[in-house]
């Protein structure tokens, strides 16, 4: 296990690279969902404004 974590001496390169890529994947999932939710909320607001007397 410690051999796995030390990555044969390359831990300071391998783990930040993996963590960064993982972080960017997670952020992209969050950002894509937010972008869609914002567009949906905007459209909903517009519809309710049109329906208001």
């Amino acid at each position: 296990m410690s051999g796995f974590l030390s990555m044969g001496g390359y831990a300071s390169s391998v783990w930040p690279a993996v963590a960064l890529t993982f972080g960017i994947i997670v952020w992209n999932v969050v950002a894509a969902r937010r972008s869609f939710a914002a567009a949906r909320a905007e459209a909903r607001r517009r519809v309710s404004m049109e329906q208001a007397p």
């Binding site: 796995f4 990555m7 044969g8 001496g9 390359y10 390169s13 391998v14 930040p16 690279a17 993996v18 960064l20 890529t21 993982f22 960017i24 994947i25 952020w27 992209n28 999932v29 950002a31 894509a32 969902r33 972008s35 869609f36 939710a37 914002a38 567009a39 949906r40 905007e42 459209a43 909903r44 517009r46 519809v47 049109e50």
Partner: protein, 245 residues
């Protein structure tokens, strides 16, 4: 030739619904493949005879770089379709690709720098491939900036489409830079003609990551494209029916 399928496919409500149904079929396999590929690459694959365990950065670096180029190619193709056939949904797809591509260009550049430090002794060199990948980031940022600078969505679509199409010339430059010029960057081991030059235990997790990142890109693009379609179709009756649900 019967073109009704083309118009049906290009109809915003049809594509909006289809994208919503397809998303989980790309997202979940992507998550499974990426986790499996990471495990295989970090834990199961044997260390490299020259680079030891340092080579394992390839399992995040190469798929990120692949995604960054694939997203740009899709973006340019969708933009061209949008320009030629005046298809709104194609512009929506093009606009969705840009932020995803930009983020994974950052991932490719940063993981490459982290790999360069122990292997080349430096984070950055003005090498053809590294420079071309940096230009790719600037193309994405230029595209995003141009879009946000133009208020009218249809004008933004057309202007940014021209930039996307002109910039596509950079994609083969990134891809073939290591073959055209003397480069410090290593030559391709997978994406080339003939047999891959790395062994199967190393190659399998990498191929899994490539497929996983491709599916991830499609899933992210579908989610964003639905939002972009809503933004372009805000006046349409179908939108009020869909969001009222």
């Amino acid at each position: 030739m019967d073109w009704t399928w083309f118009h049906r496919f290009g109809s915003p409500p049809h594509l909006y619904g289809l994208a919503g149904k397809l998303t989980p079929w790309f997202a979940w396999p992507a998550a499974l493949l990426i986790l499996a590929g990471l495990y295989g690459g970090l834990a199961l694959a044997p260390p490299d005879y020259q680079q030891g365990d340092g080579f394992r950065i390839i399992y995040v670096h190469a798929p990120s770089a692949w995604l960054s180029l694939m997203a740009y190619t899709w973006m340019a193709a969708a933009a061209a379709i949008g320009l030629v056939w005046r298809m709104k949904v194609a512009h929506a797809v093009a606009a969705s690709c840009a932020p995803i591509g930009a983020w994974f260009t950052v991932a490719a550049l940063c993981t490459g720098m982290l790999w360069g430090k122990p292997m080349w002794g430096t984070y950055w060199v003005w090498d053809p491939r590294l420079t071309a990948e940096l230009v790719l980031l600037f193309l994405y940022l230029g595209y995003i900036g141009l879009r946000s600078a133009i208020e009218d969505p249809q004008r933004a679509d057309r202007a940014s489409a021209v930039l996307a199409i002109v910039g596509v010339v950079n994609v083969p430059i990134v891809r073939y830079s290591v073959e055209w010029w003397n480069s410090i960057h290593q030559a391709p081991s997978v994406m080339k003609f003939g047999k891959p030059s790395i062994s199967w235990p190393m190659l399998t997790p990498l191929l899994i990551m490539f497929v996983g990142f491709t599916l991830l890109f499609v899933a992210l693009m579908l989610v964003r494209a639905r939002g972009e379609i809503l933004r372009r179709e805000r006046q349409s009756r179908w939108v009020s029916e869909v969001v009222a649900q």
